[in-house]
C-alpha cells in the first residue's frame, strides 16, 4: 500500500460559556467515516481535552447532534463524504443552547420545555381498569405515529430561527410531543395541553419556516404537528362559549 494518506481540514469550536474560537486539526480521511469518527479521532489522537457528547453511535439516543458546516446533524449517522466542502469541515456546538464546553451544550432548557408544553401523560384510568384498545388506523393514532419516533436530539430546536429570536418559544420537539399527547385517547387532560401550547411561547409563534422538518434526522415533521396544534387552538377559540 503506497497510496498517499489524504487529510481533512477540520475546524472545531473550542471554548466555555463565556468565550471561544475555532481550532484547526488535520484528520486522516477514510473511505467510510462519520463526523463522530472525526471528532473522536481528534479527541483520541490530537487533543484529549476536547469535550463532546455521544452514547449509542447508531442514531437512537440523540446525544451526538452538532452543527456541521452550519447545519445541525446527528454526527454518528452523518458520513463525512456527504457534507464535506472541498476538504473542509466545520464542527460547532448546537445553536440555540448554552455551551458547557467545546461541543457540549446544556440541554436543560430543551427538556424543561417538553414539560412546559405538557408533553406528559395525564392518566385517565387506574391499574385496575382494563387496557383501552387503540385502533391502529384511527386518525389520532396515525398522527401520533408520525411524531413518536423523536429521539430528543434537539436538531429541530437548533435549526429553528423562532427559537433563536424568542427564548420563551417552546420549540418544535416539545410542541410535537404535545401534539402526540393531544391525540392520545388515553390522555385525560387535553385542555391542559391546549392551554400550555397556546400561550405566550406556544404554537402560534411558529412562522412555518420549516427548518425543523427539513433537518430532522428521523424524517419527522414537527411543522405539521405544530400546524395541528394551531388548528386545535383555533377550533377551541371559536367553540368557546359565553
Amino acid at each position: 500500500m503506497s497510496t498517499k494518506q489524504e487529510n481533512i481540514d477540520v475546524s472545531v469550536w473550542r471554548g466555555d460559556p463565556h468565550s471561544g474560537n475555532y481550532e484547526n486539526f488535520k484528520v486522516p480521511a477514510h473511505e467510510s467515516q462519520t463526523i463522530l469518527d472525526v471528532v473522536s479521532w481528534i479527541q483520541q489522537n490530537q487533543d484529549a481535552t476536547l469535550s463532546y457528547r455521544y452514547a449509542c453511535r447508531v442514531g437512537m439516543c440523540g446525544s451526538c447532534a452538532m452543527m456541521v458546516n452550519g447545519i445541525p446533524r446527528w454526527t454518528c449517522r452523518t458520513h463525512v463524504k456527504k457534507v464535506l466542502k472541498g476538504k473542509k469541515l466545520e464542527v460547532a456546538p448546537l445553536r440555540n443552547l448554552p455551551v458547557i464546553k467545546d461541543l457540549v451544550t446544556d440541554m436543560d432548557t430543551f427538556f424543561d420545555k417538553w414539560i412546559s408544553a405538557e408533553g406528559l401523560h395525564h392518566p385517565s384510568k387506574t391499574r385496575l381498569d382494563p387496557i383501552e384498545e387503540i385502533e391502529p388506523k384511527s386518525l389520532g393514532r396515525v398522527e401520533i405515529n408520525a411524531g413518536i419516533e423523536c429521539i430528543n436530539c434537539s436538531i429541530c430546536y437548533a435549526a429553528c430561527d423562532t427559537v433563536t429570536n424568542n427564548s420563551d418559544y417552546l420549540g418544535p420537539a416539545a410542541l410535537q410531543r404535545a401534539w402526540t399527547v393531544y391525540n392520545d385517547v388515553k390522555d385525560a387532560d387535553k385542555q391542559t395541553v391546549l392551554n400550555a401550547v397556546s400561550g405566550d411561547g406556544g404554537c402560534l409563534n411558529c412562522h412555518s419556516q420549516g427548518s425543523c422538518s427539513v433537518h430532522c434526522p428521523n424524517d419527522l415533521n414537527p411543522m405539521n404537528a405544530i400546524a395541528g396544534l394551531k388548528r386545535a387552538t383555533a377550533t377551541s377559540f371559536f367553540n368557546r362559549k359565553g
Binding site: 430561527d161 427539513v214 411543522m223 405539521n224 394551531k230 388548528r231
Partner: protein
Amino acid sequence: MIRPHRKHSLWLAYILHRISGFGLAVFLPFHFYLLSLVLTEPDRLDGFLSWTDTPIVKFAEFGLVFLLAVHFFGGLRLMALEFLPWSISQKTLVALAIASAFLIATIFFLQVI
C-alpha cells in the same frame, strides 16, 4: 449570504412572503396618496399618469405585480399548510406557489411591453 440551515424551499417561501409583504406595505401609502390627488389636485394626477407610460415605470409595475402575486400565493400556501392537515406535499405546494407567481407576473409583463 443565506446561512446553511436556511437553504431550503420552505424557508425561501417564508422569506419571499415577508419581503413581498414589506414591499407592498411601503408601496400602499404612496398608492393611496396618488389616489387622493383625484379629489385634491386632478391636474397633478394627470401629469403623473402620463409619466407612468414610460418604460421604466412599466417595468416597475411588473415588479409590483410580482410582489402582489408572490404575497397572494404565499398567503394561500401558508393557510393551506396550517389549516389543511397535509403532510408530505408541502414542498410541491411551495414550488407551485412560486411558479404561479412567476407565471402571472410574466404574463402581465408581456402584456405591457
